[in-house]
Amino acid sequence: MSAPTAPVIAAGGLDEESAADLAAAALALARRFAAGATLWCVSPSWAPHAHHVAVEFVHPVVVGKRALPAVAVTGPDPVAMARVSVRPGDVILAVAAASDPEVCSMMRRAQAWGAATVWIGNGPRPPAGAADHVLWLEDPDPALPVTGRFVLLYHLLWELTHVCFEHPGLLTPADPECEGETCVTCGDEGRIGEVISPRMPDDGRALVRTATGRELVDTLLVEPVEAGDLILVHAGSAITRLDGDGA
């Protein structure tokens, strides 16, 4: 008696939408690498996945493919580690459930840090816009992360990213200031910032980290703020607080 073949193929296959998501993520990642990015890999519940992604990029299995900077962030406080490590232009890749509190926090902060984000997972999807690239498997089986399906997704991401390097003309976006969802030109409509210091001693304003660097921001409208809070910055002022988990 032979097992039915169709369900196995379907379970491991990739639908058109997921394949398009993967292609877009690979091109964005290649563009960031070409501009000097480091890839930060995090997987609080399955640390080996973070290590596997990092080693894939650092030491490719295909001889001749370039080594790219990728680091697994697996310590006890990945948000703090990412905060101090991530530089503008970098990429954060998470392998985690949509409910993972540390990954949720990191993904929200990524915009203030100037980082692009890729989120791999399964089950209930993260809310729209939670990451720049969401590579998601709908199957909610809690065992899915250990069946090779995530491994397939990040293997493909690596393979496609290297295909992009064969197209140097496409590695520089047409308008570098308007890449993806963080548009510097339009930034004055409201940019996400993370409070570094709530009140600078000789100034009274808060020192805030945004995608473009550090700046002093008037926080009068949203007082009190604490280090780590996320705020929306408009014309030098914080106009709203973005979440309650920053403290």
């Binding site: 491991g12 292609a23 080996p48 299995v61 250990v146 090779g148 397939l152 003309g169 496409l170």
Partner: protein
Amino acid sequence: MTPESTGFLYPFLEAEEHDATSLLADLAASARAKAAESAALQHSTLQECAGQIADAADMIAERFAAGGRMYTFGNGGSSTDAATLADLFSRPPHGRPLPAWSLAADQAVVTALGNDVGFDLVFSRQIIAHSGGHDMAVALSTSGNSADLTLALAEAKRRGLLTIGFAGYDGGRFATDDRVDFCFVVRSQSVHRIQESQALLGYRIWAAVQHRLAGGEGPG
């Protein structure tokens, strides 16, 4: 890459290429083809290995029931898959947690052994230190040839452990070494596709062991 060799595939290749639409379509098609290839390989691997999975699960379940522990190990990406497999046994999504850990996980031990006695012995020396007669050694490799893994499996066999090797290609030295009790071979030439099938093999073995420990019989 020269425009002559691939120009017919990518009409806008080279630095003047500005429209990513055709590249994105090409990448997506490539992703789907590779995913289908991976799934087909997983399916054929599971079919070919069904008997081995059942036999190995019988012996693993017996050893866990007798108080045995499982050590997993590999190099590079395979070391992370070995860690995932150990995590699956020790911290399962459901069922009974069982003692298993990755011998690559402790950087103090790995670097001490690598520096003092040589990298080929990083796992076998840990087998000597840890193992008891009911234990199990599981090596994950794509080539089946890595010296640190074959030496560890040989040491494990000498000490009465159950020895399991995961390999790709034609199975390499794992497949011909009679000190390897079970050799699971994923018949592919691609490291990535091999690892994807090995992950599913590991999961199926784990599921079959859980089934046996829960009192079930048969293929699980």
